[in-house]
Symmetry: C2
Subunit: 171 residues, 2 copies
């Protein structure tokens, strides 16, 4: 086992008891501007987004107020899901508000706010808050395997951020 | 008092007790395709949107999946508010899913789904469902004077729909 100055921390995923939201909080050992760039530049996004077993092909990634995004999940070269959303508002380095859905369940949609918090020592806390229309939809979201995608995706983001900073990736 | 075959019906505006949503339901004496057109064609939208005392200047109205919209409210020639949103998904004649916000309160955002239901006799029921992140935000939304905008806007839409169908406007 190797020693880490900042041990890997899993994202916390919390379902609020009173409203149909999910809050995901994760810290990264990289400055806020870099964590933000890894969310808005498609060449970076495609290096970490989603679970390890799934390929992500980015079709559109236009992260500006009024923009949109679309990407395709693939496994063994087969397209297995098509994700997309519209971008409500982008405050550079601070906040992204967007929708999220996928073609395979056209009625499923969430409103997602991502906030990039600057921490001491060049670290960043990323806070995501998603809301859906009812508790049943939220239960479906939580049961969809999102946690694997979140944890594995953010672990890949850790490695990408380390390599962008010229650090060993801690693996 | 005049007699109406279809008396004017106010929109019902309901706050759900369990989730921070607002449901707005209103019937129109016009076929679904026409009610839908009045929501996606900017030349029609600007004739009915908003309360009577406020002018609406449409800056962008791109009602397609991945599109966006922006409009400015004016009173006596002064700009008083700037509304905007991104368009998550459009199913022509059936459904529009979009975000809604305004520049003056950048943190306020809702996810809005509009469903166009076909009724007998060439009538349409329009059902809007908005969700926000918490009950406090919903209280703010309900206290913002939205009801005047909804009721007066839909009364203006009644008149527009009547004139598009070559009917007397029932006023």
């Amino acid at each position: 086992m190797s020693t880490h100055a900042h041990p890997a921390v899993e994202a916390t995923i919390e379902a609020d008891p009173d409203v149909p939201t999910v809050r995901i909080v994760r810290e990264f050992d990289a400055p806020r501007e870099l964590v933000y760039r890894a969310h808005v530049e498609p060449e970076l996004v495609k290096q970490w987004l989603g679970p390890d077993s799934i390929g992500m092909e980015i079709d559109v990634w236009d992260m500006r107020t009024g923009g949109e995004y679309r990407y395709t999940a693939t496994r063994d070269g087969e397209e297995i899901a098509h994700f997309y959303g519209s971008v409500h508002r982008v405050t550079p380095n601070e906040r992204i508000v967007q929708t999220f859905g996928f073609e395979e369940m056209p009625d499923a949609v969430s409103l997602d706010t991502l906030v990039f918090h600057e921490l001491p020592d060049g670290r960043t806390r990323l806070e995501g808050l998603s809301v859906v229309y009812d508790f049943e939809s939220r239960a479906g979201m939580l049961a969809s395997g999102m946690e694997v995608g979140v944890q594995e995706g953010y672990a890949a983001l850790d490695r990408l951020l380390a390599s962008l900073q010229g650090k060993a990736d801690g693996a």
